[in-house]
């Protein structure tokens, strides 16, 4: 729908340029888009942030630009999903021009991808990104000379310092308007000879083609599938084929290998070394002094101190989440109480007043209360991603993870899982092997997501002293993670047997996190959370309010009101009022549903209220708190002190039941939205069903054990 509208709005006479943005991981592609168009993309400093291609639109002079940000890829070997997405886009889709983004400080490696891009025979512009960093490191790149050598326009830019952006866009426009030019790429004599043979053969037969003969010859030698298929149909193939076979043999012989791709990789590498030697000058003599990254790494990936340091960071993050996050909580809580008491007198109808104050304000307030905690957690995870520390942790932990049948890179989706399961499920795509990916997907849910945090904070706050609560919270997260690992091992030796995926991962340079970037990441995620609170959760809160208030039993009112009138002391009056509310709840739809299934959860020590909260939590974990808010606020309207939900919970829920409750929250299905994403990523709804059964059984079993053990210890 939206696309149709845009098409109508867009006048046809505007000139469109569709740009495919390609580059290796960690060259700052997304950041470049950010500075070009002021779009807000998620930019990270570990491989695999842009898994899906993202489109960005902006205007420049009379041009309408569409920039497609393709996932970072080292080469087109179709090894990972990123590589497949990028490769198939470049081969099959319509676009006008490629911008190849490079890291100026590491041209030789980046040129490897460029050599592959040249075989696409598309218009190409090279953006030499991070030129400011190169300056700092004393690396001087002669862009002018490089353009001449490659016959491809090269522009120095810095996405971080926002320099050269205008020039880059100008160059793209110029290239777009100009004719396509054959890039210069010179191979070793042996290969050039073979290319010449094929080219002259094609010339002799006056073969008609869009691409140059040279381009076709190179693609044939590289065993490019598409070119092969095309030529295969032609009558000249019968003569061409033996020619090719012999040419390949010569090249392989020359490189002392039986793999033509390896031979070409070596050819490209040699050519790129030549280019770098010509255009790159190291002005400040590169001393043997360690770079900053090396100095930091000496400590952070130290064989002995590395892991304790990592654990310390994690522990600090959780401590901070609790202590710092608690400060604004009181203000938010006070605000919603004030809002409730201010609005209540303005509504004359009893039912509507109860709906607005208890249902909506109470339910949403209970969720908004946890925004500070969630912001801190998101900041922590964003910091991990953007600084480059995430890759170090993957390096440190691979040996450990591997023991449990996981992959060091499983760490990335698993840690993301502490924020939200949805992006975690999506980031599991960095695992190429299907079995490894499925295995990781299955245990992501054990990493407690941000939405479960409110439940934990509520319960730990209710049952533990402030000084202990942070430690308990950390313990909850850690034990969830440990259980996840144990189940990974069990699944690995039962359901997902097979060979392991190799672990080859780039360790990017450390970068100071950009405040703007973290701000955007955290802001979008927080807004997403609040949106959920405003719409979905408010709706759920209203529904639960309705289900817990109707049908209203007038008879009960009469009986209790009579008793209340007779009561002499205030204390007795309060007690009776609470009993009335409790009795009314029990007769409501919600109460009936909870009571109906109560025998099922009775072995875990849950009453029907906890039961209902957990069932509501299948939709979203945020609803658990709002449900508890609605269910437990009813009984305590009179007493000022019991107004806080935490107090109500401490008074109404036995400790052992609370332990079992937390265990179920830790282990059962994340939420409806996450389950949908899980099914999509796993490839089938069948797996979502398995996940439901698996997590439910595990949650039930562990909650039962937790309940019994706690009872024994108490």
């Amino acid at each position: 729908m939206k696309e149709d509208n845009e098409k109508i709005v867009c006048p046809v006479m505007d000139k469109h340029i569709k740009v495919a943005l390609v580059g290796q991981p960690n060259v700052g592609k997304s950041m470049l888009i950010n500075s070009v168009s002021n779009a807000h993309l998620h930019v990270g400093n570990f491989s695999g942030v842009t898994v899906d291609k993202t489109e960005v639109f902006f205007d420049y002079k009379d041009y309408k630009f569409t920039v497609v940000d393709l996932p970072g890829t080292y080469a087109f070997t179709d090894y990972t999903i990123e590589e497949k997405v990028t490769h198939s886009y470049l081969c099959a889709e319509e676009y006008d021009i490629i911008i190849n983004v490079m890291d100026s400080t590491n041209l030789e490696k980046n040129l490897q991808l460029t050599s592959e891009l040249l075989t696409m025979s598309k218009k190409l512009v090279i953006a030499l990104n991070m030129s400011d960093e190169a300056d700092k490191e004393g690396i001087e790149v002669n862009a002018q000379y490089m353009s001449e050598l490659l016959n491809i326009p090269c522009v120095k830019v810095s996405a971080a310092a926002k320099t050269g952006i205008e020039e880059l866009i100008e160059t793209v426009v110029k290239k777009f308007e100009g004719e396509k030019q054959e890039p210069k790429l010179i191979f070793s004599e042996a290969v050039e000879e073979e290319i010449e043979k094929i080219v002259s053969y094609l010339q002799k037969h006056k073969y008609k083609a869009v691409n140059s003969y040279r381009n076709i010859a190179i693609n044939l030698l590289k065993e490019n599938k598409k070119t092969y298929e095309k030529l295969h149909e032609e009558p000249l193939w019968t003569e061409l084929q033996p020619l090719l076979v012999e040419a390949s043999k010569h090249i392989e012989l020359h490189h002392n290998t039986d793999d033509i791709k390896e031979a070409f990789a070596e050819e490209y590498a040699a050519f790129n070394r030549g280019i770098v030697a010509e255009v790159v000058k190291q002005t400040t003599a590169k001393s043997e002094a360690k770079t900053l990254t090396e100095k930091i790494d000496a400590l952070l990936i130290h064989p002995i101190f590395g892991i304790p340091i990592f654990l310390f960071f994690m522990w600090s993050l959780f401590q901070l989440t609790f202590t710092l996050g608690n400060i604004p909580m009181d203000w938010i809580s006070a605000f919603f109480t004030w809002l409730g008491t201010t609005i209540a007198p303005t509504i004359s109808n009893d039912d509507i007043r109860s709906l607005v104050v208890d249902g909506i304000i109470g339910g949403v307030g209970a969720v908004v209360l946890f925004v500070p905690n969630i912001i801190i957690l998101f900041i922590g995870i964003a910091l991990l991603e953007t600084t480059g520390y995430m890759s170090r942790v993957a390096f440190l932990l691979d040996g450990f993870f591997h023991k449990f049948g996981l992959h060091g890179q499983s760490f990335i989706p698993l840690v993301t899982g502490f924020g939200c399961s949805i992006p975690a499920y999506m980031s599991a795509r960095i695992l190429k092997n299907d079995r490894d990916r499925l295995l990781t997907l299955f245990i992501i849910g054990f990493m407690s997501c941000g939405a479960r945090l409110p439940v934990y904070v509520l319960f730990t706050g209710a049952f533990f002293a402030q000084s202990m609560a942070g430690n308990v919270l950390f313990g909850i997260y850690i034990s969830g993670a440990i259980l996840g690992l144990i189940f990974a091992k069990i699944l690995k030796i039962t359901a997902f047997k097979g060979v392991d995926e190799p672990f080859v991962m780039e360790m990017p340079k450390y970068r100071l996190p950009s405040l703007k970037l973290i701000w955007h990441t955290v802001l979008t995620q927080t807004i997403m959370y609040l949106k959920k609170a405003g719409t979905f959760i408010a709706g759920a809160a209203m529904m639960i309010w309705f289900l817990s208030n109707y049908p209203h039993n007038a008879n009960l009112d009469k009986v209790y009101n009579a008793k209340i009138e007779k009561s002499v002391s205030v204390k007795q009056k309060v007690l009776l009022e609470n009993q009335l509310a409790e009795a009314q709840l029990g007769k409501s739809y919600l109460g009936r549903l909870g009571k109906l299934t109560e025998p099922l959860v009775a072995p875990l020590g849950f009453d029907w209220k906890m039961n209902v909260a957990l069932q509501a939590g299948l939709a979203a974990k945020e609803v658990v708190v709002s449900t508890l808010g609605v269910l437990y606020s009813m009984g305590g309207n009179v007493d000022e002190k019991s107004k806080s939900l935490a107090n109500n919970i401490r008074q109404n829920i036995p400790f052992a039941s609370a332990v079992a409750f937390i265990i179920v929250i830790m282990l059962y299905l994340p939420c409806l939205a996450a389950t949908t994403v899980f099914a999509k990523e796993a490839g089938s709804w069948k797996y979502a069903f398995y996940l439901f059964v698996f997590t439910s059984v595990v949650a039930y079993a562990f909650a039962f054990i937790g309940y019994r053990v706690t009872l024994m210890l108490m």
Binding site: A75, T77, E108, P303, G306, F503, E506
Partner: protein
């Protein structure tokens, strides 16, 4: 024959052969690990389960099983 896992920290070597099967070989090549590429061993994870190497200017993490398949010679 010496392989990359045999190298000590700080040692600089040259790749002489990749013994990996097709997929892993392509992967290594795409990171610039190919014949005649110069590598330096930078760091080791606990019990040498993973090693960090330098290829050109890029830092790369490799699992010990993968490192074993890279045949190297001293420069």
């Amino acid at each position: 024959m010496k392989n990359l896992l045999d190298c000590d920290r700080g040692e600089k070597v040259k790749v002489s052969k990749l013994n990996a099967e097709y997929d892993l070989k392509q992967r290594l090549i795409s990171f610039g690990i190919m014949k005649d590429a110069e590598l330096e061993v930078l760091a080791e994870a606990p019990r040498k389960k993973t090693i960090e190497i330098k290829v050109g200017k890029m830092r790369l993490a490799l699992r010990s099983q993968e490192a074993e398949q890279i045949e190297v010679k001293e420069i």
